[in-house]
């Protein structure tokens, strides 16, 4: 177990390093960093900036400095916000985490019960309904769902505020829009796993013993069916942080996604790099934790 954890964390560190390099290379390489600073200035001006900021140095040297800075918590200075990137990002991260957590809660609270009921009673109305909802959820672009919610709940019926991030009511529509696709995925996966589990011998035994159906479903079956769902959730949480760009832009939520959007518009390279790096790291950590949770929950998968 310890060896497994050590091995996995070794890989996680390697992945994090590779990701940091890719992030730096992709963003530094596809744009001229001086351009974001100079804007419409002339060639001489951008040449000066290039020299002053050290963009004329060898690429690997710049990467090394950036990485060493990032490890110390120094992610450079934002071109446009006149503040250290680390500070700006730290200020915005909690809002996005909150949004992603709400979305996750929505997806799990709806997806797991639906999946359990559908998987326990295949081919009934509930099952068909759950599948239909899942199919719709996986085909509907998040921005379309967001606009639809704004149109009906926000404007026609005036139930919820359309923009801002001041109170919990601000998060209802964004959380649904962001979490809907995950809800669909969770429903499908839970259902598929429940179908597998319900056909197994120990469920037959549990039933034969005369356990109450609810107890069989939620204590015996779900416990085993939930393992893949945890993995999916960890992966999707990372994706949701990235996908929140679209949702935060629509609802003007003051989070990391909106910051990413602003920095992309202003060609603010250090901020872009920092956000991509941080979201990747969150993903790496989450998947590592999910791997560990899997091993603990499912001893069969435990390496010797």
């Amino acid at each position: 177990m310890l060896r497994y954890a050590l091995g996995r964390s070794g890989i996680a560190v390697l992945v994090a390093l590779t990701v940091s390099f890719l992030t730096f290379a992709l963003i530094h390489g596809s744009g001229d960093p001086a351009m974001g600073l100079v804007g419409e200035g002339g060639a001489q001006e951008s040449e000066n900036v290039r020299r002053a900021y050290g963009f004329d140095r060898p690429f690997l040297e710049q990467y090394r400095d950036w990485l060493l800075g990032a490890i110390r918590g120094d992610l450079g200075r934002s071109y446009t916000l006149r503040a250290p990137v680390a500070e700006v990002v730290a200020a915005r991260l909690p809002t996005t985490m909150l949004l992603a957590t709400f979305s996750l809660a929505f997806a799990l609270a709806l997806g797991i019960p639906l999946g359990v009921v559908a998987g326990a009673r295949p081919k009934t109305m509930v099952d068909r309904l759950a599948l239909a909802l899942a199919v719709i959820g996986q085909a509907c672009p998040a921005f379309l769902l967001a606009l639809t919610l704004v149109f009906w709940l926000g404007v026609r019926w005036q139930l919820l505020p359309i923009t801002g991030s001041g109170s919990w009511a601000n998060f209802v529509m964004p959380a649904i829009a962001l979490g809907f696709a995950l809800m669909a995925g969770v429903t499908r996966l839970t259902r598929a796993c429940m179908l597998d589990v319900m056909a197994s011998d120990y469920i037959r035994t549990a039933r034969a013993k005369g356990l109450r159906p609810g107890s069989v479903l939620f204590k015996h079956a779900l416990r085993n069916a939930i393992v893949p769902v945890i993995s999916l959730t960890a992966v999707q949480f990372g994706f949701m942080l990235g996908g929140s760009v679209v949702i935060e832009t629509i609802f003007q939520i003051d989070g990391l996604g909106y910051l990413a959007w602003e920095s992309i518009q202003r060609k603010d390279l250090p901020t872009m790099q920092a956000i991509v790096l941080i979201l990747s790291l969150v993903y790496v950590v989450l998947t590592f934790l999910a791997d560990m949770a899997n091993v603990i929950l499912n001893p069969r998968g435990r390496p010797a």
Binding site: R8, I11, L14, V15, T18, V19, L22, T23, L26, I27, S30, G31, P122, K123, V135, I136, Q138, A139, C140, P141, A142, F143, L144, L147, T148, V150, F151, V155, L189, A192, L195, D196, A199, P228, S231, L232, A234, V235, G238, F239, G242, G243, V245, V246, T249, A260, W261, I264, Q265, K267, V276, L279, S280, Y283, T287, F288, A290, D291, N294, G301
Partner: protein, 316 residues
């Protein structure tokens, strides 16, 4: 440790479980025809897709107007089902804020979506399937390296990286396709890797090796045909994935550039008018939804059709 992290596989679990094997099940054409009826999703998806393909293909010939033709005197004509004096059969779905015929733009938009979806799938399929098959077939270090690549790729937030790179390089159709193509290969790699692992241990591979076939020959004539099923299923679903992402990029203004008619872009352009003329959003948004739905239904149906054993066990 040579294994992918659990969760990389989980993302594609349902696809991975689809049994690798020859495409054609051993049944007569008639039986197969009957079996199709057991998969209503497949048929509905196929029919929807066919009609969208037709609309896209015919866009150049039968679309009533030029999708780029502006006429400010004819702006924001409502579609014919609205009780409005300006509604006219000349523009059955109305016109947009610049007076461009909405039906024509929608038809041409279908072309853009399909073009992006299919081209992206070709690039990502080539990269991902190549990596996956090599990893599954050779195992060992190659597998380790590919698994590492997949894990790394999964850690990068796709939407953000795509947005950043497209905005820095300058957005155009080609850039969007290239960026998405080189970002979306992970599911191909995961599924093809495990499908190839299943095939590798089959007797016909041993037999081919015994008669002295080279690795390349085995890969091309034994492995590839036998992982075709999962490959086609992933490819189908990845088209939908690419279309969804492109629409999000275009919606944010960093995908297909105006005046090219892209459904995501049309939604974005009409956003300011959403509360007065909601149909401006409902039409391209609905089109996008139906297209992705059709592809997903078709892909899911295809998977169920090709893995009948696992299906019947599950539904029993």
């Amino acid at each position: 440790m040579a294994d992918l992290p659990e969760n990389a596989v989980e993302g594609a679990r349902e696809l991975v479980t689809s049994v690798a094997g020859p495409l054609q099940p051993s049944s007569t054409g008639l039986e197969r025809g009957w079996r199709l009826l057991d998969h209503p999703g497949l048929i509905i998806g196929a029919l929807l897709l066919l009609s969208i393909f037709l609309l896209a293909a015919l866009a150049g010939f039968v679309s009533p107007h030029d999708p780029l033709d502006q006429d400010l005197s004819r702006r924001l004509i409502p579609p014919i089902w609205q009780a409005d004096d300006r509604a006219t059969w000349v523009h059955p779905l109305g016109t947009d804020q610049l007076g461009r015929d909405y039906l024509s733009r929608l038809m041409h938009g279908a072309r853009i979506s399909l073009l992006i979806g299919l081209s992206t799938m070709l690039i990502s399929g080539l990269v991902g399937a190549g990596l996956g098959i090599l990893a599954g077939f050779f195992g060992g270090r190659i597998d380790l390296a590919v698994s590492f690549l997949v894990t790394t790729r999964l850690s990068l937030p796709v939407v953000l990286v795509a947005l950043a790179v497209v905005s820095l390089v300058g957005s155009s159709l080609t850039v969007v396709i290239a960026v998405l193509g080189f970002l979306l290969w992970d599911r191909f790699a995961v599924v093809l890797r495990s499908a190839t692992q299943q095939v590798r241990s089959q007797e016909y591979i041993t037999a081919a090796r015994a008669i002295g076939c080279s690795n390349l020959r085995i890969l091309l004539s034994e492995v590839l045909p036998n992982v075709m099923g999962p490959l086609i299923v992933v490819a189908t679903l990845e088209v939908a994935h690419a279309i969804l992402l492109e629409s999000a990029l275009s919606f944010l203004g960093l995908g297909v550039q105006p005046p090219t008619p892209s459904w995501g872009l049309m939604v974005a352009e009409a956003r300011g008018l959403m509360f007065f003329d909601p149909w401006l959003i409902a039409l391209p948004g609905g089109a996008l939804f139906v297209l992705v739905l059709a592809i997903n239904l078709f892909g899911d149906g295809l998977r169920d059709l090709m893995a009948p054993q696992s299906r019947s066990v599950r539904d029993a």
